[in-house]
Symmetry: C2
Subunit: 365 residues, 2 copies
């Protein structure tokens, strides 16, 4: 680090100290956290850079393949897909293929399939019940209604399978159709365990492995399959993806209670408002007093929430280190993800994929 960099860092540090005075629990560690965050962002930029030509082609394929004579389909799908997701899942397919030395172009269409499946689940997540309507609706749903979200999701899902069939690999089809079943199972499991403060960490992990990690795992594994790598390497990619997906969801669940959310254009406390039992809640509930558990039951199970409840919830999470321990759990899976990649040669792709583990964890800061 040059002296200019050092000066800049000190400047940021002092400026942060000043602006954060009076805020809770930020204090002296902020400069370290900024560094971590930067490291995460750099890792994402590195990966983006490596796959950028391929990703352009994926974006073109997405636009091309969501076309339909029924205008509402590209309209609604475009609203979602163009709304600037990071394309993390398709990037994983692209990078995993290249890591395995793949030199063809099948990974473009298959990365598109992965993004279509992801988009279909997002659209289906939009669907609300009468009871939810009291709490307002989500984006695509608010504009076009429940039925449109479901049907356009079905279209993307079916189209994804058409594209896989066009690709012609039964092994890829097996991996992605099985992931799709597991995702649906995970979503139903989440539905039936919703608003239940008795949810164990084990049950929570089961849900996120299914609803989030399964697609990350499949996205990576198919990279090895099209490169015709041995089973051990395909499995290593699957393991990397699965652990990365777990991290991604753990940190997502932390972010919902973090002020950082605001900079991502999302609102803080959505999960709280829905009574969604994520790991921070599981930990705070289990570590809490009887009185505190009564608070969680009132707010999470009965959804009887009043002003100040969200702040109190965050206080309790901090009291019991529920957020920081969730991040610690994520670090554990990060280690497993890194080790899964260790059998691959130490190329720029392996470095980039390893870096993505940091990116996913450091989003939390």
């Amino acid at each position: 680090m040059g002296s200019d960099d050092y000066f800049a860092l000190v400047f940021i540090y002092v400026a942060r100290m000043i602006t954060t005075i009076g805020k809770r629990n930020v204090g002296v560690v902020i400069n370290l956290e900024e560094e971590k965050k930067d490291k995460g962002k750099e890792a994402l930029a590195t990966l983006l850079d490596l796959v950028s030509d391929d990703l352009d082609k994926v974006n073109q394929t997405i636009l091309l393949k969501m076309q339909s004579p029924v205008a509402l389909i590209p309209q609604l799908a475009g609203h979602l897909i163009a709304s600037g997701g990071k394309r993390l899942r398709p990037m994983l397919t692209l990078a995993a293929s290249r890591l395995c030395g793949y030199e063809g172009d099948r990974h473009i269409q298959l990365a598109t399939c992965v993004e279509f499946i992801h988009s279909a689940t997002l659209l289906h997540d939009d669907v609300v019940d009468k009871s939810d309507l009291r709490r307002g609706e989500d984006t695509a749903n608010a504009i076009w209604g429940n039925k449109a979200s479901v049907l356009v999701g079905d279209f993307l899902f079916s189209r994804s399978f058409e594209l896989m069939v066009e690709d012609g690999s039964l092994e890829v089809l097996r991996i992605l159709s099985s992931a799709s079943s597991v995702i649906a199972e995970g979503e139903v499991l989440q539905l039936v365990t919703a608003n239940d403060t008795d949810t164990t960490e084990h049950a929570y992990m089961e849900v996120i492995c299914a609803k989030t990690a399964a697609l990350f795992a499949a996205a990576c594994e198919i990279g090895g399959v099209i490169a015709e790598r041995p089973k051990s390497e395909c499995e290593a990619l699957m393991s990397y993806g699965k652990n990365l997906g777990i991290i991604f969801q753990l940190i997502d669940d932390v972010l919902d209670y973090s002020a950082e959310q605001k900079t991502l254009g999302k609102s803080v406390g959505d999960d709280f408002q829905e009574g969604k039992i994520t790991l921070p809640i599981v930990l705070a509930f289990r570590r809490g007093t009887d009185e505190e558990r009564a608070f969680w039951r009132r707010t999470m199970e009965d959804l009887d929430q009043k002003e100040g409840d969200l702040d109190h919830a965050i206080e309790l999470m901090e009291k019991y280190n529920a957020l920081s321990d969730t991040i610690e759990r994520a670090r554990h899976y990060g280690q497993v993800a890194r080790d899964a990649l260790a059998i691959f040669p130490d190329t720029e792709y392996r470095k980039a994929l390893t870096g993505i583990v940091d990116f996913c964890i450091n989003r939390a800061y």
Copy 2:
């Protein structure tokens, strides 16, 4: 016909004459219609009889393959699948395979796939918007809510693809994934043209070809594919299925205005209440006076309905032969369906499949 049968028929005829006195438009033709209806029912019984062993296996496979550690899935799926549908679509796969001389057992699992896709679309049809809630909810949805219907539908859909992948035929996968896309497109098209009295017969036909006929077509075509029959025969089965599906939907749309519905345990006028533009409405609207068109616009577009409107709607349909002409259209497609089968040897399977055309048309009586 023996003299006992003749006596029985006269008895039924007289009894019907007595019970129908004072009812509209039934009169002297009732005995002919009863005969038609019986012919249809016989045709269904003949097919059922031919495929009954296979169908038992399909029912077992359905129960087995909808299992999941997440209890709500078999619970909700079972509620729908066990609720006594006719299993017409899987029966078509079974009979088409046997018509082609197929002697293996792949048709069992593939017929299960067809039923799963059908069930998934039914579950997704259950999903309602805020506006629909005013008019009450559908069955599965009323009990478990929108989200559960969507997610269990997704599960059945994904599971269906898993089963196809297990079967291993890319051609079957191509046919059924393409049908699934077309179905979703058709459902979205129906959504965007809903409540529009300007809908043309052409636009209506496009919707029903996609949302209903595509799965009938695919269900039949795959029978030829697994029997490894030449393209001309697979196409003939596809054409038979497509035309049968068109008939099925046309008659479904007639039945919604027929007292016959009541005997099927459904209520009359559901489509009317929703403002669903089916062919009987298209015909009555186009053949009507300005005043009558204003009536259709008020009831179908503005959904401003009052007591007596449904009766008036049926009167207008009768005035312009909208229901009987819809049945006439169905007869036309029936003729095409029969001719499509003509290239096959005249076996009991061909007879049964031809008979199903009569069954589908004569449901209207």
